[in-house]
Symmetry: D2
Subunit: 141 residues, 4 copies
């Protein structure tokens, strides 16, 4: 299991009139966590899209534990929970800098051709990347 | 069971370079659906906050079925799935105008005091609103 | 001179911890005003992009007069300020529902080919649309 | 004159279907540039707000020169252009990592009391900060 860490400086624009980070913005942060994981493993979303593929989100499940505020930094811990031929599940913890959990989440992704959004098996698109994800996945089948 | 409908004109700003609506924006739309439901029932988020309460989101679970594109309108159908003393669960369908489902979702909410984020029982804050939610909830316990 | 009006329901997500609408969101609203003007005149951004063109923003100048708050509606009044072969300037007023001005703005746009972002003269792309803008422009040269 | 630099990793969420960064997001970046300048000088937006003040934006003028894309980093250069008793003007350059200019901008700010949005003179609120801005301002009157 490989866990990536990404630090995020909370933006004023991300707060709402409750005085805390607006909840939908955490979903954007999940993507920053994923991107960091991918980069840490030596792969590239840019190259993936240049090759004609995109990886749409099929599901997001996020549980909010403790509000985050402007002035804090958020740490996003991201790992691969499971990988099968068609579907990657990422898991996340969003932490305050003192280590307390602000939120936990999972997201499911598939790979599709950019031109027609037709699903393709991940191992057919990039076998090295796919095998890496199989290797580091938290849940091994 | 009472289902509210809210039509949303998709914004250019809501698209991403995949050419579809960026997935985190659906979470913002859920709030627009909730607000419409509340308004349709005769209640008011504004008054609720003026009285010193806010209703943070504890969980969002969203399943994406079919991408939405700029130029379309999205219909958000929102209803109360369940209500107990501390927790409201809303359910949602996001529809294309032809009725096909773009996404389904649920969200869980509690009521807290605005000043200290301490949870309070919804029925203590607004019994009429609470009773209405109990009455229209999809799941009756 | 033709002035279009677009009503916008302020979103909770658009507020910040100052308790007012975050200033960058007005820039998104300008686009909604522009889109409404284009639609009111019988043209279509969708068709324009399908034909292979996009219209990037070259300049935005926005002056904030009075804060807007959640619970209000914003009215965006949009018109064509000037049009020459290469450049459209739109002007805007953002109003509270009582008619007081919340903000005024202008934005400059060019037309480029979507594939390479090369500028093209608007009258070469859509002469009818271009002539309409010349006709309704506030500043006639 | 003191110029602050802030590097920004472009977010997928910040792109639009043109395949470039959506123009309103640059306005959010300006705030990140300002925040970095303030931090570099040893002051704090957090403390300022805790003391009961906020600094709303009165004007933004932004000129777009060259589109930015996902995968790039943006550099925000920020400095104080002018400071008088009531008004701070910041100037900005947004750069590609190769140094070419993506956008230039200015923004005007006042200081108001958080509770009633009444303007107050900056030098009355924080004389040290005010004097620092006078000292480093590009335009000396």
């Amino acid at each position: 299991m490989f866990v990536s860490e990404k630090e995020i400086e909370i933006r004023y624009a991300e707060t709402d009139q409750m005085g805390v980070v607006y909840h939908a913005n955490y979903v954007i942060w999940l993507e920053l966590g994923r991107t960091q994981l991918i980069r840490d493993l030596g792969f590239s979303v840019i190259k993936f899209e240049a090759d004609g593929y995109v990886s749409p989100v099929m599901n997001v499940n996020i549980r909010y534990k403790a509000a985050m505020r402007y002035g804090e930094k958020a740490i996003i811990r991201t790992w691969v929970k499971s990988q099968d031929r068609m579907r990657t599940v990422y898991a996340y913890e969003i932490l305050h800098t003192d280590g307390t959990i602000a939120a936990t989440a999972t997201s499911e992704h598939i790979v599709v051709k950019k031109e027609n959004f037709r699903p393709v098996a991940f191992n057919r698109v990039d076998e090295v990347w796919y095998n890496k994800y199989k290797e580091i996945a938290e849940i091994q089948d």
